[in-house]
Symmetry: C2
Subunit: 140 residues, 2 copies
């Protein structure tokens, strides 16, 4: 995702308006690698701008996704997660704390049983335990 300043320009030239709510979300999302949900973003936004609506958060996330500035991912946590990192990568979900980590995969795997299907995209979700959670399990 581009910087708040660049997004401001991009939104205006797309005929979209730049409101304080959107600017806040631009800042909250920029360089955010936590893969937040709409709800967690709303919480973070509320502490800075009380009264901001969850509906506005969804709206802005949708706009950003349509502009290709972020991607929404589904990792089985029940709700969508939003990722300003739109580079080609995958995700690892900790079954202990639920944190989502970025994974970069080199060398595409070899497929079998997939005749007559043209693949345009692949997303891998790894599950396991992060270092902290592995340590917790070990000491218990």
């Amino acid at each position: 995702m581009r910087s708040p300043e660049e997004l401001t320009v991009a939104f205006r030239s797309a005929g979209l308006k730049v409101t304080p709510q959107r600017q806040l979300l631009f800042r909250l999302l920029h360089d955010n690698s936590s893969h937040p949900t709409a709800d967690s973003l709303h919480s973070a936004a509320t502490s800075v701008m009380p009264g901001i609506s969850l509906r506005t958060v969804y709206q802005t996330l949708t706009d950003l996704a349509e502009m290709g500035e972020l991607q929404s991912i589904e990792v089985g946590s029940g709700s969508l997660r939003f990722d300003p990192n739109v580079s080609d990568h995958h995700h690892a979900v900790c079954d202990g704390c639920g944190d989502v980590h970025d994974v970069y995969v080199s060398k595409a795997p070899v497929l079998r049983g997939l005749d007559d299907f043209s693949v345009s995209d692949a997303h891998i979700v790894y599950r396991g335990h992060c270092g902290a959670c592995s340590a917790l399990v070990a000491t218990k």
Copy 2:
């Protein structure tokens, strides 16, 4: 997933009862490679046994999953899909018709950026178009 007959024995020895509703679902799921949703199973079940409750379908699917007889997968279609094929495999989803196909992947990919994380499972969701849908697009 095992055969309806084997499941009958397994359910009884687990202290679970074998009802007509469950037997029907055993049959509908056995050798079913369509990755059905709870709702589509309920529709199929209703045509044989009018009055069967969607709640019962969910209940039985949960029981089967807990016994390891099937897995539930999330491929981004909004609702869970259930898969009696519990062998190690992945899925390809057609963006045209929504059908879900099995994919077998040899040779695990090499991961980067995933330090200090122990992976216990991986699930790849491929997206694209199946043969039929590719043909449709070409002729249009």
